[in-house]
Symmetry: C2
Subunit: 317 residues, 2 copies
């Protein structure tokens, strides 16, 4: 099998479901995760270790991590807001922990009621805890730079501030940072410029992934800029579900199905089978019949005569 | 006023309305065209000179051309399938005529019941007719390469065939050709490669524009590739209305509102005021209340603190 060029990380079970009032039954989530993995999705963020009273939709995250880690080859990611969440994620066996830090301090206070100093102290505690684990059991720790492209509360965010927060997260012990367009403000020029600024400050290994929203319809243009500048992991959510309850107007991750078609059509291997991905979409649609699913590729289907192999051919028609 | 970097050509009154069963009243079309021009849209394709029995929605094209040409600074485009349509367009006073030629001969026969030889002969007749006009009254003649990125009937279209048809159109007397993704099959790599192949064969002046559909959600990613490779005119339709009745599954041009936000956010001047563009969208929505309008920027609005001037600043925040 050809090596994967771009890793699509499915965040629907976390970012998608947290913004939907309806609670998806655990059995349905497992069926969806299983269908996603069967389609070849290499990484799934299955939930968030936050108190159930805050996000009852994600109360079964520990059970989902345990379920997903038994799926051969799947990387299991989870969001953790603090050390307590990290402990739970470690106990459940997650492969990757993402701690979000909002570059907009106003958004950080609104979202998790912590300022930057408090968040960085928490990241340091998590990193120290991880260092105690045997290497084979140690999950990767990512610092997610939320509102990196602008904030619905503060407006523009200085790029120097994003770079400073990236440095602070790495110094606090993260293995990597990720850029997150929480608010759907990003444009392709900004995606490239900010990525390169962080690379210049911290090296390319410090940043490989990006989390984009489609709030203004710019998601796939930004994804194109991201993969062409050299980022190799792109978050997306099936049906474009998701958003951020604390950032008014911010709704909808980029659509996994449309992203996979974009990448495969460009000749980039995602390891994902499009038809099986549509089967996973049907599982999701069946479990959440009242929720509107976004995206166009699912209805339109693949172009006549399209195969990923022909798209990857060095001799285009 | 700063020079325009990218010309957004609004094709909604032609490509949009031709695919909608409802007939928009002429007065409403005029109000919409006027609102688009007030927003700064530099070019509008106001209709198509086809027999009213085939497209009754566009039966008032001559009246609309006459109306639109009185708007200061606006370039008025119209689609013409044949010499008879071109005569009508010339009489009405259009600035630009587009003759579509489908690179897929199967699609051409289905769409206009003519093969390539017949279409090229028609283009030659139109070009000869235009040469008889005084230079000041001579509209520009564009050959539109429909199905250039693939065909829902034939499947993949050989790029050599697209280049050959581009050459044939230029030899037949077109001032320029345009690439058209009639079916929503295009990907960014293909957009760049095909543009460069035509440039190598015919020079850069022969191709400056592209017509993209959003059938698989890839429209803005393709638009990004197009403007970054150096194309300077991008077709779009307000609310993403439009499609091709003869190409099953092909629906929806790229959304003008989202395209304008993309370009302005990247620091490219379109000459279009976003808030006034939303006013034009309200005119359209009011005239076609039963038609679903696409796009995300209209609902989300501009990012907090966003101004085109700040986006164009050489000193990003």
């Amino acid at each position: 099998m050809a090596a994967i060029d771009i890793e699509v990380s499915e965040v629907g079970p976390r970012d998608g479901l947290q913004s939907i009032t309806a609670i998806m039954p655990t059995a349905a989530k497992k069926a969806w995760i299983s269908a996603l993995a069967t389609a070849g999705v290499p990484e799934i963020e299955v939930g968030s270790f936050v108190p159930a009273r805050l996000l009852p939709q994600l109360a079964d995250t520990a059970e989902l991590v345990a379920y997903a880690r038994a799926i051969d080859g799947l990387k299991v990611a989870a969001l953790v807001p603090n050390l307590r969440g990290a402990e739970d994620a470690i106990a459940a066996g997650a492969d990757k922990l993402t701690v979000p830090l909002s570059v907009s301090e106003t958004h950080s206070l609104r979202n998790v009621r912590r300022n930057h100093t408090q968040m960085l102290a928490e990241v340091r505690r998590i990193a120290e805890r991880l260092r105690d684990l045997p290497a084979a059991q140690r999950p990767k720790l990512e610092g997610g730079l939320s509102t990196a492209f602008g904030c619905t509360l503060e407006g523009p965010i200085a790029e120097s501030q994003v770079v400073a927060m990236a440095e602070a997260l790495m110094q606090a012990g993260c293995d990597e940072v990720g850029l997150s367009d929480t608010t759907g403000y990003a444009n392709p020029v900004q995606v490239r410029r900010l990525t390169e600024k962080i690379w210049r400050a911290l090296g390319r290994d410090s940043l490989t992934g990006i989390h984009l929203h489609n709030t203004r319809g710019q998601g796939l243009a930004n994804a194109l800029a991201a993969v062409e500048v050299g980022l190799t992991t792109v978050d997306a959510s099936m049906g474009g579900i998701g958003g951020c309850p604390a950032a008014p107007g911010a709704s909808g991750n980029i659509v996994t199905e449309d992203l996979v078609f974009l990448l495969e059509a460009m000749g980039l291997n995602t390891g994902i089978d499009f038809e099986r991905l549509l089967a996973a979409r049907r599982v999701l649609a069946g479990a959440l019949p009242a929720v509107e699913l976004y995206g166009f590729s699912a209805a339109a289907g693949l172009p006549k005569g399209f195969t990923p192999a022909s798209a990857r051919s060095a001799q285009p028609v």
